[in-house]
């Protein structure tokens, strides 16, 4: 991996040909987080032959606790499907990183690798932990300015904490994302240990302020999304305590909102599960992005 200078407002960490396209990893100085942020972009082969002004749909993928861009980039098995359907795939990091970013020593579920896609309001986190604004505004603006993506054809997906991110970002921005999907998402962080810990420390104890970062609460409060697909493994050790998929099903039912929530027998929380259904998710998004 070499870092090279670039005309673009970011550095190229690495680029490799894959499935006829290019898997890149880049880094840039983020104004939101005040740190260097790394992200991955897969350009399918269709990007090579675009006429001037032509664009492709884009699919954002938000990762789970402890992950960086690298986990899905290495293990996600999305490139074959993105190459087939002509989808640009973007994978950001899960938190700010750096020496001056406050962390919680030895806690995998808070701090570095655990930004929870919120804009923190509490010291000492508020300065750098601005992952909501980063994934909702700054990164998409950077992507749209530098890659041939069509802002009218965006979709979002994620895993676990990133499934929470995808659902909440998508529900808050229904006009922007045509489709939302998730693997094993945290659907109601306000009600489970991972979420109570993170939202409490990032946002403070006023639980009303948590509701815009909670998919079930957003739906209860009136947010809607037309196209939602969730896959949840039934052998996932986090299902009962942390994920509680049934709460999303109940909220959708109460709200009269359609969502395809599938329980997958025997699958766990890992990328062995994610990769199994990744191609199907990409195709599902592609159908909606091309409609």
């Amino acid at each position: 991996m070499t870092s090279t200078s670039d005309h673009r407002p970011f550095e190229t960490v690495s680029e490799a040909k894959a499935f006829g396209g290019v898997q890149g990893v880049y880094s840039h100085a983020s104004a939101e987080t005040g740190t260097e942020m790394t992200f991955a972009v897969y350009l399918p082969p269709q990007a090579e032959s675009l006429a001037a002004g032509e664009t492709l749909p884009v699919l954002y993928y938000l990762s789970g606790l402890t992950c960086t861009h690298a986990n899905v980039t290495e293990k996600g098995e999305y490139r074959a499907a993105c190459a087939e359907h002509g989808i640009i795939f973007v994978a950001p990091d899960t938190s700010p990183r750096g020496e001056d970013v406050p962390d919680a020593d030895g806690e995998y579920d808070f701090g570095l690798g655990a930004g929870f896609y919120v804009d923190a309001t509490q010291a000492p986190y508020a300065e750098h932990y601005r992952m909501r604004s980063y994934v909702e505004r700054e990164l998409p603006a950077l992507i749209e300015a530098n890659f041939p993506v069509d802002p009218a054809r965006q979709a979002i997906m994620g895993h676990s904490m990133g499934g929470h991110g995808a659902l909440t970002v998508g529900l808050r921005n229904p006009d922007r994302f045509r489709s939302i999907s998730a693997f094993a998402p945290i659907v109601a962080p306000s009600l489970v240990p991972w979420g109570e810990k993170a939202l409490g420390r990032y946002l403070g104890e006023d639980r009303q302020s948590w509701r815009e970062y909670d998919a079930v609460a957003l739906i209860e409060d009136g947010a809607r999304a037309d196209c939602v697909l969730v896959d949840q493994g039934m052998a996932d050790h986090f299902l009962v305590e942390q994920l509680q998929t049934h709460r999303l099903a109940e909220a959708c039912k109460a709200a009269g909102m359609d969502a395809m929530i599938r329980l997958q027998e025997g699958y766990d929380h890992s990328y062995f599960f994610i990769s199994t259904f990744m191609a199907e998710h990409v195709r599902w998004h592609a159908e909606r992005l091309k409609a």
Copy 2:
């Protein structure tokens, strides 16, 4: 990852459902290497519904320098194709490991992670570095005794040093492996720095003894294989100095041996390259294994 006791003569390190089958990682005490050896086995969904005595074809994958079973297991993207075609996929480690296994400090291309699929004859390596006998005899015997594989339908593939392994194991055992494929193999280790260093230290300076561990020399000496497929990336930084694919093409031509050697424009040495062509290799093997 938990280690559990097992009726089988190996320990289960982990098992996860993937693409309808089971991705397992196991370890056992190897008589050949005198160490604990870890290996991965993917059982496709077809393995679940076999009648007593029914078996599936098996494809062995040998990894490259610095790798363990984990690289291809995480990044290889073989499970979708193995599930489609009903192929059992086995990935061993690349060397013995353990405190009493002699290593070369700081050298990535010799010692741990760099067994080169030879039976070493030189001290201090001869005791543990017996990767030829391990992948040629001990591991297949263990697999055949404990998984529903058909010994009459075996194939072998590998990457880089593991491509060298696949070609040499395959060429020495033409009646056993119906097909051999490789990504970016070291085709003539006797003639390139990686190979001269490893074969010299493991086997000593008598270069005649290296020939059974050199695909080009094996072909020159009369070994033949009916079905050989090689993919080599043209942007692979190791091509000119270490891989020298042209030597295999020349040896096959001189011997009148058919081999499909494909040069792939723009691809490097990484798993981004391997994963791109993995499904095609699995399908190619499947056609020959089912014939």
